[in-house]
Every structure is written in structure tokens, then in C-alpha cells.
Symmetry: C2
Subunit: 275 residues, 2 copies
């Protein structure tokens, strides 16, 4: 296999091929010689999680991460406690699946000051860290685009994610950098360099930003369909020494409505052409 | 008139009451004892601009600004030249109207590096500055939310706007701060303080961010309908010594479909309650 057709560092998120069950996804990804799979938790509903992970590895797939934990902020203690309990459950699930990492969509409460939400996020991660240590599970804070600052995440820039990492200062706490959320940031290169210096860049997610974008959640583009400088950002990421996967995370009603085998072929081509 | 019912520092953008012509808008705003009006350029189509401005002042309205110039970046020199010509036209229109300021939505070209667009923006402003000087018209860079970084503005934070102002270093070049675009920014207070220290905070626009927001352009909330800490941001702005207007700029299909007199009443109430 030539380098140009090497998909060993390509990972696909199960939500990218939403119409497929976790069994269909792992079989098709493996048949396509894709190296990695990131599993969204709802894909594990009703499954024996350990056996699911074993079957992935038997298929030659590396389990890259479990999506997602987080959503720590809440307006009362009950909500905060429930979030921590759910994140502990996610750590147990990741351990059972054999996933070395959980991606954190950190959460926000509309109307609650973002500074308070950021404090609750740091406190929430600190609360689950002992269990993460016990199982050796990394926790990757994913800064979310500022358009999600109302109810999905109060961590909206790499700088803000780096600040939480600095505060917690723990080798299991790092960052998942997703181009969709951070491509516009004038400080991007500097902040990615900082993640390298601190050895905390845990994951790299790719997709594209379409013009126009017509839905806040489910109108992402496949790499090459939009305006993001994917090669440029990938170069910044690799300059830190990052050797992990390029994880394709595309939420798209448009793509989900298409034949998923055809879509998987387009993902592979886009990975070669644009990443 | 008590302080609690003083609308002398309330300004409404003509686009906020989109169903109204400029004549209807100025008559209704004046009848409602609102102090200021910001005029969107398309409202002046087919009008004698000088007479329109005179009629506003005769009605007791202060013309706060003309919206909008900008859109400087382009993929070729022809596009750049056309943008500069249009901004010169906007300066002539502002002078005719008697507006002391033009708000700049700076522009971006999908796929063009944001660094290049930012350079074209600074160059474009520099190119029109001599004409702005001649007429004494301020140019207010409005940082736009990062969700508009693809095709509406490469200036997406107060820090980025401050950087362009630093580069141009001219008393007529400043910033229009709109809560919708900047409310999520962890550096907001620091960057607003900087605009104060540099005497460049020219305008303050208010509205709100709804949860959920269902349209990228025309689903803004009236103050109080969303999650923005309006009182907090207004306090940051006033701490710089800013004594200008609170300009209500709400793009909303929902509000435009309602009776506009009723809406204007709600704007006044929201201004008192939330700003």
C-alpha cells in the first residue's frame, strides 16, 4: 500500500455515518481499511460494551475515543451531581470499550455567566479525574465554536481550553482540536503550539465549514466542501509532534440521506485530497 | 421626564423595524421620544439624502450612524477597487445625511486566508481614510461573530478589531461593539477596557442571543429574550467613559412579522428593563 492510499491514520466517528449501527460501522470501516473508529455513546445502547470493543480490535480497528462526556455546568447542585455521575459512567464505558480517551463537550447553561460555567467545568473534570486515573482514560476538552456558547460549551477557544488544562495541570487532561470550532481564531497557531509544548493535544477532528451554513448543528461539510484551511491547520497540529488520527466528524442531514457506502468512499478521497 | 423613562440615549436601527420606510421609522421613533436613529443605506434608496437627514433632525432625532460600509476583501483587484469605491460613496452619503459615523462590516472571502482578508481590510480602510478625514466621518469596525468568518467578516473579536485600529492608528478609526457578536469572548472586559484607553469605542449595539437560535442571520432576540449579560457588558462599556447611544439592532423575521408599533413599545420596555 503506497503512502497515498494509506488510511491507517484515518478515523471515522460513528455519528458521521449515522444511519449505520455500530456493527455496520465497524464492518464497513474495517472493509475500507480505515484505521480508527471513534464511538458515540448512544451507539453502544443495548450492547455488551467489552465485546463490542473486542470485535472492533479483531476487525483491525483502533478505538480512538468515546464521544462524549462533559456538560458539567448546571443551575443547581443536583444537576452538577448528575453530570459528574454521567461522566463517571462514561469513564467506565470507555474502559470497557478499550477507548483510551473521552471527548468532553463541556457544557453551558443559558443565562448563567460563562465564568461560572467555566469554573463548574474545571471542578467537574477535577471530580472525575481520580476515576480517570484509575482506568488510565484521557479527558480531552473540545473547545466548541462560539455559536454554541449559550447551551453547549462555555469553552469556545483553544486559549480557553488551554487555561482549564493549565489550572488542572494533569497528564490525563488535554484538548481535542476540531477544525470546525477553531478555524477562524486569529490565535490558532500560537495556541496549538502551546498544546504541543504542554504535551496535551490529544485529538484532531476534521470536517469543513460550508458557505452558506444553514443549520447550527447538522450542516457540516465534508473536507473540501468549505472554506477551512485544512492542510494549514493539519500542518500546525503535526508541527507539535502530534501523530494521532485525523478523525472525520461530519454532522450532516445531507450526507446522512445519501448512500453511506458511497459517502465512506468520499470520506476516504477527501482525506487524501484535503487533509 | 424621570430618568426611568428617558429614551434620549436609545437609538433604533432602521433595519430593526424593517417593514417601515425611513419616513415611517423617523416619525414613529420621534413620536416615541427615542433619541437616535441609525440608518441602513438601502433605506435611503431614491431619497434626497440631505433632506432626509434634515427631516430627522427637525423631528428631534440624532442621526447616530450610517450602516454599513466595509466588505473590503476580494479575490481580485477589480473587487477590491469596487469595494473602495462603494465605501467612498458611503462616506459621501454619511456626510449628506449628517451621520458622524459609518459602521463597517469588514468582509471576508470564503477560502481566502483570514490573514489576507485582514490585510485587505486594513488597506481598504486606509484607502478611504483621506475622504473620511475631509468630511470628518468616523469609521467604526464592527467585529462580527465567528460564525460569520466565512463570508461576512474576518474581524471576529474585539482583539482583532483593536489590532486593526492599532495598525491604522487614526482618531477616525474605532470600534462598534455589538453584544451579539462578542458576548461569549473570555477577553471581552480586557478588550473593551483597551478601547477606552485608546479612545476608540465609537458605538454600542444591543440585542440578545436566543436559545435555540434557528437562523444564522435573522433570529436575533430583543434584549431580555436571550442569554447575553446586557447589564454587565453595558457596565464594561460605560466604565470606559462611553456616553453614546444604546443602539437596538435586531434582525428578526419573528419581530418583523409583528405590528411594528407594538414592537417599538417592547423595544422601549426592554431598553429600560435590560440595558
Amino acid at each position: 500500500m503506497s503512502e497515498l492510499t494509506d488510511f491507517s491514520k484515518l478515523c471515522v466517528h460513528t455519528i458521521t455515518t449515522k444511519p449505520w449501527s455500530v456493527e455496520e460501522a465497524m464492518d464497513r470501516y474495517a472493509a475500507a481499511e480505515i484505521g480508527g473508529i471513534t464511538v458515540w455513546r448512544q451507539w453502544l445502547d443495548g450492547r455488551d460494551i467489552e465485546k463490542t470493543g473486542e470485535r472492533m480490535r479483531a476487525n483491525g480497528l483502533e478505538v480512538v475515543s468515546l464521544c462524549r462526556g462533559g456538560f458539567f455546568p448546571a443551575s443547581d447542585q443536583k444537576g452538577i451531581d448528575e453530570a459528574i455521575a454521567d461522566n463517571r459512567l462514561a469513564i467506565h464505558e470507555a474502559a470497557a470499550l478499550g477507548a483510551p480517551m473521552i471527548v468532553l463537550v463541556c457544557g453551558a447553561v443559558p443565562g448563567q455567566p460563562l465564568t461560572e460555567s467555566r469554573k463548574q467545568i474545571a471542578d467537574g473534570i477535577a471530580a472525575v479525574l481520580p476515576l480517570a486515573e484509575e482506568h488510565g482514560i484521557k479527558l480531552a476538552i473540545e473547545p466548541l465554536h462560539p455559536m454554541y456558547a449559550d447551551d453547549r460549551s462555555a469553552i469556545n477557544t483553544m486559549a480557553s481550553a488551554n487555561a482549564v488544562c493549565d489550572e488542572l495541570d494533569h497528564p490525563l487532561v488535554g484538548i481535542a482540536a476540531d477544525v470546525y470550532h477553531i478555524w477562524w481564531d486569529p490565535d490558532l497557531e500560537e495556541q496549538i503550539q502551546l498544546t504541543g509544548a504542554k504535551n496535551r493535544l490529544f485529538a484532531f477532528h476534521v470536517c469543513d465549514w460550508k458557505t452558506p451554513t444553514t443549520d447550527f448543528l447538522n450542516d457540516r461539510g465534508l473536507m473540501g466542501e468549505g472554506c477551512i484551511d485544512l492542510k494549514g491547520i493539519r500542518a500546525m497540529v503535526e508541527a507539535t509532534g502530534f501523530e494521532g488520527f485525523n478523525e472525520v466528524e461530519v454532522f450532516s442531514e445531507r450526507w446522512w440521506a445519501r448512500d453511506q457506502d458511497e459517502f465512506l468512499g468520499k470520506i476516504k478521497k477527501a482525506y487524501l485530497d484535503f487533509c
